[in-house]
Amino acid sequence: MSSFKRDKKEEEDGGGNPFQNIEKTTVLQEARTFNETTVNPRKCTPILTKLLYLLNQGETLSVKEATDVFFAMTKLFQSRDVILRRMVYLGIKELSSIADDVIIVTSSLTKDMTGKEDLYRAAAIRALCSITDATMLQAIERYMKQAIVDRNPAVSSAALVSSLHLTKLAPDVVKRWVNEAQEAVNSDNIMVQYHALGLLYHIRKTDRLAVTKLVAKLTRMSLKSPYAVCMLIRITAKLLEEEDSGNDSPYFDFIESCLRHKSEMVVYEAAQAIVNLKRTTSRELAPAISVLQLFCGSPKPTLRFAAVRTLNQVAISHPAAVTACNLDLENLITDSNRSIATLAITTLLMKQIATFVSEISDEFKVVVVQAIRALALKFPRKHSVLMNFLSAMLRDEGGLEYKASIADTIITIIEDNPEAKETGLAHLCEFIEDCEHVSLAVRILHLLGKEGPKTKQPSRYIRFIYNRVILECPSIRAAAVYAMAQFGAACPDLLENIQVLLARCQMDSDDEVRDRATFYSNILNTQDKSLYNNYILDSLQVSIPSLERSLKEYIQGETNEPFDIKIVPLVPIPSPEEREVKHKSEGMLISQGPIRPVPVSREENFTEKLSLIPGIQELGPLFRSSEVVELTETETEYFVRCIKHCYTNHVVLQFDCLNTLSDQLLENVRVQLDPSEGYTITDEIPCPKLPFNETGTTYVILKFPENDLPNSIGTFGAVLKFIVKDCDPTTGLPDTDEGYDDEYILEDLEITLGDQIQRISKVNWGAAWEEAASSYIEMEDTYSLSSMNTLDEAVKNIIQFLGLQPAEQN
């Protein structure tokens, strides 16, 4: 942070950022003037500005600091200075997630949002939505509905966009505003219409029929806002993809008609949509291509850029279709080189980029690299051309991110295409000879250790790896030691040589390098295959953040007993669906935001939550938590969902219950189970109170049938039991103290084998299986697979049923 500030200073050579030297403590001190009886806007506005500046620079406030300054800020509501008030709104938004009791400004904001001062209204709505919680939303619902249909477009837009954000908080409440959103779609204002459509679609999107109706209606009414039309095109294209009927549908006609729209934005969106449809025929593609071709000659650079980018995509999916544009493309790249096939065009493009690659920014180079990756996956046989190109780029100047993206691409290609493996590894070996990025070198060494032993001639990699030991910094040397150990474990022929090299490493000046060399050398000395597998070939299966946490706890406690790594939750391996989901973007109106850091496993999350419950600690480590199972329909009086947590001998059932009746307060909520044979209920933890619109949790702990895995599969009847107190819907207070017992039948709950099996990826499945024979019990069971037609389908079903992980990508 401080070095960043210095850099800035040098850059601006003294011109000066007036906020350069401000400090948090000073600003917080200054903010106390907000409390003075008479507010002086000229003094307070700059202080607020500084505060906002600090927060936006990433400065963090403690809850107490934030709360204090927040409450001081609330006193500024007594000033009628417009600028100050708008700063206050911004301050509220920034602090709303840190400070306590932020709902204190609800009335002040509702007053501003409904008041006469137009300059306040839109901003007040946005601030209000940032402080509201699900319980308060009821109180402001009326104002939100009015604001959505307000005549002032800024107010209406603010209300619509805020509503969209509120759907994350309380989807069911926002759903009730659908009529207002509908009305706003008819607005004359282009932004309002766009935002209204965004909200409307978001509310309806899970209901296919409703979306179909919406699209049918809107495509006929000719929306005024080009933004809204673009959005409608996206929605329609999505419907078209989901529908099986081919492109001969009114949806396609609509999209095609948009190619003749008077707004260029809409025309482009329509072309882009057609190009990206999975089943477009070349006849359907033609009109889209010709508008893109037209755009290539547009005087507007944005249009040219958009057109070229889209044509580039088409070049990969429909090579022939772009041939018509060759000339235009070539004009754009001002080069006389001719080419016919699409791959040639794109490669050509890249070749040309290579000539000026040193002049473009890293950010754009990364785009080029991604294009090459896509090409390589599409045209595996061209790997050598592309590989050469990549290795040339690898030798160029460039930052870490750029280099990492090249290395990633090479790795992806290697994984995807066995034929490319040897060349790819060779390029990477060459690269680490002269690589200034430590983290990248470490990654590549790791990859060499994993993949090198499986190639035809493993010995050729050893020299590259050992060179690192001689020439590099300690962390790279340590990685190189590990890579060599992997060769030693996997290739018996090389073992002797490796031992010699490892012995030399034991003289290293760095502790970590010496330790590793000694460790691996000893293991390799044992000649014990199982030790090889567990300590060299298989990587760590546990989740690293969990391991850190467990070790910390262990050190704090009594350390008489050795640390047991079995209590650490395993890293979740993403299922194929999850992997796919990652690639697809939600799209539409909500942007995705930056990528979050590596998530902790579900088990890890639950472990923390569950450990708060008395009695659960004794059950041992949490082994696996199931997916969420719904035990009621979504729109019922009580909405109940269950998560099954498996422990060594117990299963903990977590029931999350939502009370959707505003005139009932539930107490002593619990689930009565009728477990199948062999199970015993050891404990029940009821939920003491469940007010309207809140989710409460009750638990049931059961013991699995003793030594009887097959019989642990079962179906339990389940009934929700509780005491009802009728209450006043507005206050939520019960009418009387007397309640009555009531119950609600839930759907049956199933415990499957899959709940009890955790996915683990083993590098060497065969060996691990052999080895397991001695320490685990092998179980055999026959499943009827008659309903499945293909092997693929059968495998998929088994995976789903048993919750297994396919071994070594078999």
Binding site: N35, E36, T37, T38, F71, T74, K75, F77, Q78, D101, I103, I104, V105, T106, S107, S108, T110, K111, M136, A139
Partner: protein, 199 residues
């Protein structure tokens, strides 16, 4: 305009500004009372329950009042204290027909009086025994006794029965205003002055 105000105005003497805090249990009529302090044109037609607080302004005599009308719901009462430090006076509204919650009122009042930001300050407190029109309403004398107001020695206070719906006994309280500060009293602190003692 009285002669004094005219003179002050002429001399460019700034209007005195005071901040008052309006507290009391929910539904006691605080927002309705504050609304009645305003000029006819500035009043709102419909009073909705306050969530958090609301800042209102009005003029009375030569003073510009800024009132922090607080929410009286249980969830918000703990938050009153954030506004104690810099207020110049307190208006405490009691629903005199809500006999059941009179003990709660006393509890909240005691907490307020003991608060470090209040207990050593000679700030004036004006009590409204509101909803005097209601059949069950207790008289202001009874309310004063129930709350033990006579034990407040170090702060000027006054209690008045009121009807916030009609405005009876609200704006016509004589001299919610400024009294010449006596020696030893913080001149920024204004006092509620009553009857003939007003000068």
């Amino acid at each position: 305009m009285g002669l004094f105000q005219k003179l002050a105005h002429f001399l460019g003497v700034k209007k005195r500004e005071v901040n008052v805090l309006v507290v009391g249990l929910n539904n006691s009529g605080k927002s309705t009372v504050v609304n009645k302090f305003k000029n006819e044109e500035e009043r709102v037609a419909e009073i909705v329950p306050t969530v958090g607080f609301s800042v209102e302004r009005f003029q009375n005599q030569n003073l510009a009042f800024t009132a922090f009308d607080m929410s009286g719901h249980g969830r918000y009462r703990d938050l009153w204290e954030h506004y104690y430090k810099d207020c110049n006076g307190i208006i405490f509204v009691i629903d005199s027909s809500d006999r059941l919650r009179l003990v709660v009122v006393k509890e909240e009042l005691d907490l307020l009086l003991q608060h470090p930001d209040i207990c050593n300050k000679k700030i004036p407190i004006l009590f409204f025994a509101n909803k005097m029109d209601s059949k069950e309403a207790l008289s202001s004398v009874k309310i004063a006794a129930a709350l033990g107001l006579d034990k407040i020695m170090d702060k000027p206070w006054h209690i008045s029965a009121s009807n916030a719906l009609t405005g009876a006994n609200i704006k016509n309280i004589q001299g919610i205003g400024m009294r010449r500060p006596r020696a030893g009293i913080n001149p920024r602190t204004f006092q509620f002055c009553f009857g003939s003692s007003y000068s």
